[in-house]
């Protein structure tokens, strides 16, 4: 009896595999369509994960990745022991937390105000124009900042002087670097980051608003009690995403804005990774610093997600 069952089980397993292959064969065209993306993924993404091992080796071009000797945590320890480790760490953290605090709520407010704008035509114009800064490249943005904020010939300082103020050297003062960096970023992204909230607000059922109007609610009250609760899940999700990325500050803009006058605050982990990697050619060291940074990011993202799941029942994964 038992034997028969085992045989049947075996047969069904074989049957199952055969059926799976038949199913796969039936959609073979789909695998073909996915193949290019898959090859790219394996070569470039998994290839770079494989290459990350040089953080634990003494990499040299001649010996290649696997031929270079293991050195364990040598480069991580070197980074932690680096005299400016804490400066780099805090520069990165302060800059991105500042960016999050300034850059996160403003698009929400912008979306709320724009949605409740009376004139539909103005609404359209403002929305379209608000996207424009987003399409400016980092290089052009920094060039634009240099031109507009120039110490003597910049339009901002000219206007300041006309108002009777002293001209300000925005790009050369260390204490202003973070403000210029963050607020120019806010300027670039208000419109773009508000898209998602505007879409979420368009999904608020009009009946809720009508009912609120019947109850005599003002527009401000409707924003507070109708709109905000509806878009809350969106806000939470984006807050998690952004908080999780707090330590992954982009390289481009900070690097472009750097000069000898502001290097005390403008040197962040990603610019440091570039410099030791490409300028001084210390590949293993650079990879170790980058890896250290991405591990922090990963831990941060998971932690924030857990907290948010506990508090609000909504998380990313």
């Amino acid at each position: 009896m038992r034997k028969v069952a085992a045989v049947r089980k075996k047969r069904t397993l074989r049957e199952r595999i055969r059926r799976l292959f038949r199913m796969m064969w039936r959609v073979r065209g789909l695998y073909l369509l996915l193949l290019p993306a898959l090859i790219w993924l394996v070569v470039f993404k998994y290839g770079s994960m494989y290459g990350v091992q040089i953080a634990f080796r003494d990499y040299s071009f001649r010996k290649g990745i696997t031929g270079s000797p293991w050195v364990g945590l040598k480069y991580f320890k070197a980074f932690w022991g680096q005299h400016n480790f804490w400066t780099l760490f805090s520069n990165t953290l302060i800059l991105s937390v500042y960016q999050l605090i300034a850059g996160f709520p403003i698009p929400i407010m912008f979306a709320l105000l724009l949605t409740h704008l009376r004139s539909q035509r103005l609404k359209k114009v403002v929305q379209t124009v608000s996207y424009a800064p987003y399409f400016i490249s980092a290089v052009v943005l920094v060039a634009l900042l240099q031109v507009v904020l120039h110490r003597t010939t910049g339009i901002v300082n000219i206007l300041l002087q006309r108002l009777g103020c002293e001209p300000i050297w925005f790009m050369g003062r260390e204490d202003l670097f973070r403000h210029v960096y963050v607020w120019s970023d806010v300027w670039q992204k208000i419109g773009w980051n508000s898209i998602i909230y505007i879409a979420a607000l368009a999904g608020v059922s009009p009946e809720l608003h009508e009912a609120a109007i019947m109850d005599g609610a003002t527009k401000l009250q409707r924003i507070r009690y109708v709109d905000l609760p509806t878009i809350r899940p969106t806000i939470v999700t984006l807050l998690i995403l952004n908080t999780g990325h707090v330590m992954s500050l982009g390289f481009e803009k900070a690097y472009l804005m750097q000069n000898s006058l502001n290097s005390g605050v403008s040197e962040i982990i990603s610019t440091f990774v570039y410099k030791i990697g490409m300028t001084s050619g210390q590949f293993s060291y650079s990879t170790a610093v980058g890896l250290f940074n991405s591990i922090i990011n990963l831990i941060l993202l998971i932690t924030v997600n857990k907290i948010s799941k506990k508090l609000t029942d909504s998380g990313l994964f």
């Binding site: 789909l30 070569v43 290839g47 608000s130 060039a143």
Partner: protein, 307 residues
């Protein structure tokens, strides 16, 4: 009694009206102010690029262009380096975006098919890479080992796909291509590849439009990859050259206009060149995006509103 109630309701209504009027008026003012903040810097660069640089630098050009001159633009288009970098950028953008969109749409569609054996595993394979990346040097080594370094392909292959956009495409297809459509055409003997090309692609024009814009912007504005993966000046793209001219060494501009003998004349065109370059570098994307704007939501919504 009833009259009283009516009066009360009326006054409440009026109160609501005044409060809302205040809101409307101040909202309009705030939005007009925002409009100026968004638009003015861009507008200023535009008028400065066609004005007399001396007037710009002394702060006389504020609302309208003064001392109209197109010298800056002439210099830009006469300059071989700039023209070549511009042509390079166009080539990288067109080829790169083509590859990007092809991979994203086909991959996204396949991963959206619920009857695909191994779908969960394959999706996971992609998603994992969104959270962890080897970093700059490992990527650089791959480019070198594949002999892509300092070639045209270094600018398009390493970023042939954005996994984030792939996931956007996947969820777009999940919601917009009904499964019945496939069943019907399967009965008609239409294979998966043909179904994708002749049914799915035409149905997803909005998504394709958004993807084209997203990827084109990345290529157009990219300078980090160019800095890492290119060596020859002849392959340089626009952003890399702009960085050199506008940010790194403005002295470079001096030899661009070396033919001019008069120093003040030279200074003049350097200043004008700056504004002109900013315009020339940003104009294409600024002109294109309004056409795709109404589809933006498709490109940012899907992935992020999962929670």
């Amino acid at each position: 009694m009833q009259g009283k109630k009516k009066v009360r309701q009326k006054s409440r209504h009026r109160h609501q009206c005044t409060s809302d009027t205040i809101f409307d008026v101040s909202n309009t003012i705030v939005m007009l102010f925002m409009l100026v903040i968004f638009a003015y810097p861009i507008y200023f660069v535009l008028i400065a690029s066609i004005s007399d640089p001396m007037l710009v630098n002394s702060g006389q050009v504020i609302l309208i262009p003064k001392g109209l001159s197109f010298g800056g633009y002439e210099r830009i288009f006469e300059n071989e380096k700039i023209v070549r970098a511009y042509a390079n950028t166009i080539a990288y953008t067109v080829v790169g975006t083509g590859i990007n969109v092809a991979l994203t749409i086909s991959g996204g569609y396949v991963l959206s098919r619920k009857d695909l054996p191994g779908r969960g595993f394959l999706t996971l394979l992609f998603v994992v890479t969104m959270f962890f990346d080897g970093g700059m040097i490992p990527n650089y080594l791959i480019v070198r080992n594949l002999r892509l370094y300092n070639t045209f392909w270094a600018m398009v292959i390493p970023n042939a796909l954005s996994v984030w956009n792939l996931m956007l495409a996947k969820s777009f297809f999940e919601t917009s291509i009904p499964g019945e459509l496939r069943e019907v055409s399967e009965v008609d003997g239409c294979g998966n590849v043909r179904f994708f090309l002749s049914i799915v692609v035409p149905l997803s024009k909005a998504l394709i439009a958004v993807m084209v814009l997203f990827y084109a912007v990345i290529h157009w504005n990219s300078y980090f990859n160019a800095m890492l993966y290119l060596k020859d000046e002849s392959r340089q793209n626009l952003q890399l050259l702009l960085r050199q001219i506008l940010i790194v060494e403005q002295a470079n501009v001096n030899d661009i206009s070396a033919s001019m003998s008069d120093y003040t004349e030279r200074m003049k065109s350097i200043e004008q060149l700056k504004y002109g370059l900013i315009v020339v570098a940003s104009l294409p994307m600024m002109v294109i995006y309004p056409f795709v704007q109404k589809h933006f939501v498709k490109g940012v919504m899907v992935g992020a509103v999962k929670g």
